[in-house]
């Protein structure tokens, strides 16, 4: 071990997951925080930048610091930008990130992907392995950027082995401050459900996900891993457990829920691209990650749901 602290660049630093990852890393590593939304207020010794990774200014971060590893968490969600903007930032931005990592000799990259890439289909077997086909772009155009980002990361995984890329595909990550689609949905008092459908889902606490990112970074075993607990619950039970009331939406014929969701999608209330995920389960097998890194989630489903329940009671 040399004297110099390793320098770690964290993208999407304003998000709740990245904040937790930074908190876990910052006494052992030199952390650099980057976000496209705003300059993150952090501890004095953490340099922080507001920069879009697909813009030229991003390279200056690499010029100014000798970066050893990148934790690529930052992503523009569907509610934050239209398709073109997301494609530019998430896909082209990531490509630029990988190229900069090669150019500046970065030794390790962790990519935060999502289980959405597998796609929700009636034909999915349960406990999908990492080598299952990624069918999300078949389901909806809104997830094309997620799948493309995955493909890109996988290309660099074999094209640039020196980057030591680890791709993590977590199930639904929930918890205080999490602003992904599922978390925002369950924070609301009224949540859409499809009549007659209640697919099985997996949920992970954001603190456990932060732990997972840290062990993946510290143990450095490149590859693709699902990150999920071995516990399952159906969507409608999760909705009840989070203290939400259900807005039942007719589900047949299949065109109807899509139409209704488009009408109801004011303020991302009912994202059309999720309709299939409200119908069919996408259950991933997280055992490879658990085995490889000796990681186990510490919070159970009730811990996760109780936050949403209490939050509603407080605001009522």
């Amino acid at each position: 071990m040399n004297d110099r602290k390793k320098t770690v660049l964290v993208t999407g630093a304003a998000g709740s997951l990245a904040k937790r990852v930074i908190a876990r890393l910052h006494d052992r590593y030199q952390v650099i925080a980057v976000d496209f939304r705003r300059k993150v207020e952090t501890d004095a010794d953490i340099p922080s930048y507001k920069v879009e990774i697909h813009k030229r200014g991003f390279e200056d971060v690499f010029r100014r610091h000798r970066i050893d590893a990148v934790l690529h968490i930052g992503r523009i969600f569907t509610h934050e930008g239209d398709r073109t903007r997301r494609y530019n930032a998430n896909v082209l931005g990531s490509k630029r990130l990988f190229e900069l990592c090669r150019k500046y000799g970065v030794g390790q990259v962790i990519v935060h992907s999502t289980y959405f890439v597998y796609g929700a289909s009636a034909y999915n077997p349960a406990l999908l392995d990492e080598d299952a086909p990624l069918k999300a772009s078949e389901v909806t155009q809104d997830l094309v950027d997620s799948v493309e980002l995955e493909n890109l990361a996988q290309i660099y995984l074999w094209k640039a082995p020196e980057l030591n890329i680890t791709i993590l595909r977590p199930c639904n990550v929930l918890g205080p401050g999490v602003r992904n689609t599922m978390s925002m949905l369950l924070s609301r008092p009224l949540v859409p459900v499809l009549l007659g459908f209640s697919p099985l889902m997996q949920f992970l606490h954001v603190d456990d996900m932060a732990d997972a990112m840290v062990v993946a970074f510290e143990q450095n075993r490149p590859g693709i891993y699902n990150v999920a607990p071995d516990d399952y619950v159906t969507y409608q039970v999760a909705v009840e457990q989070c203290g939400c009331r259900k807005l039942s939406v007719p589900s047949v014929p299949p065109l109807l829920p899509k139409l209704i969701s488009r009408l109801l999608n004011w303020n991302d209330f009912f994202p059309p691209y999720l309709v299939n995920y409200f119908k069919y389960p996408v259950i991933i097998d997280g055992r490879l990650f658990q085995r490889t890194f000796g990681w186990k989630p510490k919070r159970n489903l009730n811990d996760i749901f109780s936050y949403y329940r209490k939050h509603k009671l407080l605001s009522a």
Binding site: A122, F197, L200, V233, V237, Y280, P281, N300, L301
Partner: protein, 283 residues
């Protein structure tokens, strides 16, 4: 008539809770509790099996098993009380009543109840409510990956290698085994799961079909639409479970695997004959 009386009794019950208690008796609860079936904190497993749905399902199946189809089962001691197993049977009767009743026999086995899993057609998950109900009771779509991972986790799986060739056949072809797929044998060899052959007698008579209305089936996207009674008839059902057979991995060519499948088929044929001989009246 017994069944009719029973339904009349049920109709008089007022509250939902009372209904539930009638169907999900303490006996049913006990059976579910005794099953060697791991579930998560909310009672679900990875394939959507739910303890609550299984209780209700078993309650209803128990009534049908005992009062409607008046099932006679032999050789239940051949089903291992725990560990992986493939229960392989002949398929008949248009609706999967045979799967339900074999499942009932497994779940109520006095030698040790098992949570039965069944492989279903791929269109079931697309049907609202029905898909959720079947999944909750333990059904999964017939994907080899599902089957392998379930056997690795020591589940008991019911397989009909004839598939819709068996269940959709007309009444005139009753008790003639259709072509068996080889998939189940590959799964058994790969996972080391023993095969318990079952001969089902009686389900052919629950829904005698004159013909398949193929154009209507195509229109509805269903495997077949039989010209048959609308509801299953109350035929007596006989289930004969044979001794478990283990197959090693020595068969390499598809020809050798087919020979093994034929062996299982012969066993099932013999078990069906036993059931037919024992049957004194169809209804």
């Amino acid at each position: 008539m017994q069944v009719y009386e029973r339904f009349k009794q049920l109709a008089r019950l007022a509250s939902r809770e009372e209904w539930y208690r009638r169907v999900v008796t303490p006996e049913v609860e006990q059976l579910i509790a005794r099953m060697p079936k791991p579930v998560g904190s909310f009672g679900y497993d990875a394939w959507g099996y739910s303890e609550n749905a299984a209780k209700l399902g078993l309650g209803v199946i128990k009534l049908l098993y005992e009062k409607y189809f008046r099932v006679t089962a032999h050789g239940l001691d051949n089903i291992p009380a725990q560990g992986r197993v493939l229960v392989v049977a002949n398929h008949s009767g248009q609706l999967p009543m045979d799967g339900m009743l074999i499942g009932g026999a497994l779940a109520m086995n006095p030698h040790g109840p098992r949570a039965p899993r069944a492989m279903t057609e791929r269109f079931f998950p697309t049907v609202p409510w029905l898909g959720s109900i079947l999944t909750g009771m333990g059904a999964v779509i017939g994907d080899p990956l599902n089957c392998i991972k379930m056997l690795e986790q020591d589940e008991a799986i019911i397989v009909f290698p004839e598939g819709i060739r068996g269940s959709g056949k007309p009444y005139r072809k009753r008790y003639q085994l259709q072509r068996f797929g080889n998939g189940f044998m590959h799964l058994a060899m790969q996972t080391g799961a023993p095969i318990v052959p079952v001969g089902v007698v009686g389900c052919e008579e629950t829904m005698p079909a004159l013909a398949n209305i193929a154009p209507l089936a195509r229109l509805l996207g269903l495997p077949y639409v039989p010209l048959a009674p609308l509801l299953p008839l109350p035929a007596r059902v006989y289930l004969n479970f044979g001794e478990a057979i283990c197959f090693d991995k020595s068969a390499v060519s598809e020809e050798e695997v087919t020979a093994r499948v034929e062996l299982v088929k012969d066993k099932i044929r013999a078990l069906i004959d036993r059931g037919l001989n024992e049957r004194t009246s169809v209804f």
